[in-house]
């Protein structure tokens, strides 16, 4: 059994003159991993390389120890939910999942029962016998997820799986992914919505313009941020007094005001957070600015993303 889920070495994929991904080297461990990046970052291209829909233009990629392109041995072990809203419209939801299960090697009766189970997991059991052409966008998305998980693969790869889902379905789908993780299935999913990743995993791979921006645990990525200013929000009764003292501190780059008069909030960006944290209690006592709270956005993925994106731009 391969120790790593994915090992990519100098992978590049071009569409003519357009760069899909470039010089991508990353090792993804087993578990749940979020692939994050804005539109056009190369997430879908990377996932297509990962599942073997495309071949790298150069470099090597291994998934579960196998080369993915046109590799049925690997395809027996993975499930893929593509981003494109494509289904065989004339089939019912059950026929759709059942058909693909039969192509995974299950007998007709087993495929039928496993198909129903998968549709139950995505809350579509009650419409299992309805034609797909009558399905809403969210139902279609859940059907695609059902076919990806129905054969209980070792690895499930999902390209923007929460797109088109209403809040309830989104919540249920996040729960489903969590359960898959608990059952020992590795899940790799892409999204450009940060809180979706935070809700599921600490393991992320950040892509931007086809290149790897950062990869690993959010805490690990955090160390990459040392060259970027860290941002703190301070709620204070008298923020002006506080701001006057803070701007003179070593490392402080910007101090911004926001909020109403009574509960004003200062946003401080500093390259030397240790200095800020050491001096802040003294400044608070001296100025009597009335600090209500101190928060750092730095542990939030959004902050990591913002910083790294800023650095890459």
């Amino acid at each position: 059994m391969s120790e790593h889920l994915v090992r990519a070495t100098d992978v590049a994929r071009f569409y003519g003159d357009v760069v899909g991904v470039c010089d991508l080297s990353v090792t993804i461990p087993r578990g749940t991993v979020g692939l994050l990046g804005p539109n056009g970052a190369g997430k879908s291209t990377f996932l297509k390389l990962l599942v073997g829909e495309l071949k790298p233009s150069r470099g090597q990629i291994e998934v579960l120890g196998e080369t993915p392109f046109s590799n049925p041995r690997l395809h027996a072990r993975l499930g893929f939910c593509p981003q494109q809203d494509a289904l065989w419209e004339e089939l019912t939801a059950l026929e759709f999942v059942e058909f693909l299960l039969r192509l995974s090697g299950f007998e007709a009766a087993t495929a039928r029962s496993k198909g129903l189970q998968a549709l139950e997991r995505v809350q579509l059991a009650d419409v299992a016998h309805r034609r797909l052409k009558g399905f809403s966008k969210g139902m279609r998305q859940r059907t695609r997820i059902a076919q990806a998980i129905a054969h209980q693969p070792e690895l499930v790869v999902l390209d923007e799986p929460l797109t088109g889902l209403d809040p309830l379905a989104r919540h249920a789908t996040l729960d489903l992914f969590r359960n898959l993780g608990n059952e020992g299935t590795s899940v790799v999913f892409s999204t450009h919505v940060l809180h979706e990743v935070e809700a599921l995993t600490k393991n992320v791979v950040l892509l931007h313009r086809g290149r790897l921006l950062a990869g690993g645990e959010i805490a690990g990525i955090r160390t990459l941020l040392d060259r970027h200013p860290r941002r703190y929000t301070i709620q204070a009764r008298d923020p002006r007094l506080l701001a006057r003292e803070l701007v003179s501190l070593d490392g402080v780059e910007t101090v911004k005001f926001s909020g109403s008069k009574d509960t004003s909030v200062l946003t401080v960006e500093t390259r030397l957070p240790d200095v800020l944290l050491r001096e802040l209690p003294g400044i608070a006592a001296r100025t009597r600015a009335g600090i209500g709270s101190l928060e750092s956005r730095d542990e939030g993925l959004e902050a990591v993303f913002d910083y790294l994106m800023g650095g890459a731009a």
Partner: protein, 260 residues
């Protein structure tokens, strides 16, 4: 990995279900039935029309030369291209099956559908032509059966060729139309043995090899050197085999860049 024949069978059975509900399949059926419709109109409006004359003329020119290649092009090109255009090919290529099962499975159902339609078209053509008032020897088995054989073989050979073309070429429909109505037409007009390079010549050789004298009324029939039946069957079978193998070889290696 799932065995090729199992995967092809599963794909074929599901494809047949969706195919019979598709507009493309019924459009092809309609095109194949056009010669029968023409025969029915002519039989009722032209006093000199004879049953045997109508069947041979329309079978030779309308059915074999126009309808059969055209429907085969429509269905053949779609064998793989339809899954690409619909972007559903992803689901099939990421299952533990040989990729070629897609080509074999869908090709078999496409040919089956067209062959059934072609058989019905020949039967209706014969029935429509039989209503003509003109007297001749009537529609014999020497007219009916060779036409049936050529029409069914025609959809099989053309569909296989166009299915392979659809795997290799991006604008297969345009290339196929060009081949069918320009290249074959041009080659058949060249002197010497250039007709051997056309599928039409081999299909018509099937008729010449099995048909009766009723076919002599076709222009140029007597002046053409037709191929013997055995080599003709062998040639057509070889064309199907080579086309399918070339298509399968390409499909095994080809990447499809699908947009979201």
């Amino acid at each position: 990995m799932i065995p090729l024949h199992t995967a092809a069978w599963v794909i074929a059975s599901v494809h047949l279900g969706t195919l019979v509900r598709s507009r493309r399949a019924w459009a092809c059926a309609g095109l194949l039935l056009l010669p029968a419709l023409i025969a029915w109109i002519v039989a009722g409006s032209y006093a000199k029309a004879t049953p045997s004359g109508l069947t041979t003329m329309l079978g030779w020119n309308a059915l074999l030369q126009v309808s059969v290649p055209l429907v085969s092009l429509l269905m053949g090109v779609a064998v793989v291209a339809e899954e690409v255009d619909d972007r559903t090919i992803t689901y099939l290529f990421l299952r533990p099956i040989p990729r070629t099962a897609l080509l074999y499975g869908r090709l078999v159902t496409s040919v089956l559908w067209l062959a059934v339609c072609a058989a019905v078209a020949v039967a209706l053509l014969v029935a429509a032509a039989s209503t003509a008032d003109g007297s001749d020897a009537g529609i014999t088995n020497g007219v009916r059966l060779p036409l049936l054989l050529a029409a069914c073989s025609g959809v099989a050979v053309y569909t296989a060729v166009f299915a392979a073309l659809g795997v290799w070429v991006k604008n297969a429909m345009i290339v196929g139309l060009g081949y069918t109505f320009a290249v074959e037409g041009f080659l058949s007009q060249l002197p010497g043995r250039n007709q051997l390079l056309t599928l039409q010549h081999h299909l018509r050789s099937l008729i010449a090899g099995t048909g009766d004298d009723a076919w002599q009324r076709i222009d140029g029939y007597g002046a053409t050197t037709w191929e013997p039946l055995g080599p003709t069957v062998l040639t057509l079978a070889s064309i199907v085999l080579v086309a399918v193998l070339l298509g399968a070889w390409r499909l095994q290696r080809r990447q499809y860049e699908l947009t979201s």
